[in-house]
Symmetry: C3
Subunit: 138 residues, 3 copies
């Protein structure tokens, strides 16, 4: 099963919690057991699991700025978003999670976030599930 949804971002750098939307898709898919790929088909956005706490969300932005500061990026001569590409590639644009008994397996402080590095934009998120083979039924 593959489904997609859109996220409208408001700032250049922003963390958006997409956990509810992803879990709604998992429930609707009626998959009982398998794995789930959460993927954003962009090269200036990322997917992470982190705690949804306002201070921490600000800390992520401070961290991103520290990582890419002080470099004279060549790509900025073409398009002023080298930092966005680097941070997107570094964090990765996908996460893989397990599904068991119809539920996504994640810890209580592992919310799923789309990370915007070059907003505001409309971003696509793809959720792909693969079911395990239930050998009893085959």
């Amino acid at each position: 099963m593959l489904k997609e949804f859109l996220v409208s971002t408001k700032n250049r750098y922003q963390l958006i919690d997409i956990t509810e939307k992803v879990e709604e898709i998992i429930r609707e898919s009626k998959i009982k057991e398998g794995i789930c790929l959460i993927f954003t088909p962009h090269s200036t956005a990322g997917i992470i699991l982190t705690e949804n706490e306002n201070g921490l969300k600000e800390d992520w932005l401070s961290f991103f700025k520290k990582l890419t500061s002080g470099i004279d990026f060549l790509h900025n001569q073409i398009d002023d978003n080298a930092d966005s590409h680097i941070l997107s590639g570094l964090l990765g644009q996908e996460k893989v999670l397990a599904i068991q008994d119809g539920e996504l397996i994640r810890g209580p402080w592992q919310q799923i976030f789309l990370v915007e590095f070059d907003g505001p934009r409309n971003r696509k998120v793809i959720v792909k599930t693969i079911g395990g083979i239930d050998t009893k039924k085959i």
Copy 2:
């Protein structure tokens, strides 16, 4: 197949080699061909593949400290572990590997490590395998 095991960590930052335990689970599952998700359901720990060499394990800790130094984290006003969350999210809490002929495919210097960023704690590791469809049998 989904199995889990616990790891007791001893230090605040620590790399623990979990390769043997993961490979034992793969063998017990009798899966011949497919993929394997190695996941830790925590937001202050991570999973990486790296060489198990004592100097390098120390180097990882120096690197982690360099990455998060010099930032006045807001989350530390609530819980003094913003660095732990950031490093966990950055490294990621999961790895996906291939299984072929009943064996996990990895290079000789790719040991699987649980990385503790906020220990000492008891950490859970989940191993989920998904078998390929053997179309000859269906």
Copy 3:
């Protein structure tokens, strides 16, 4: 389905676009729907998705150098490549992508790159596909 191919790298740090080769393997596999693991079984190389633009490829190298500079690595007393191991583990040695209607799902600026951190070398890349269960056929 599991296939592998070799990449000969020329520099110590280098980004090599492997998108065409991976997509050729997907087409040959005739898989219609599922997921694909792209994995390099090395601890001093990585896999990322980023835009194939010459300036940006240089920017990645500047970024890698900034990340690991100023640390007196212990592993360098054994083998002068602590930076290579750290960057490989940080970026990760694998990516997971979805396959739908026989095509790899990725954005137009998401090229697949093998990242060399300790070249020149011959590097192996493994492509493993897992098909979804087509319940209509079972």
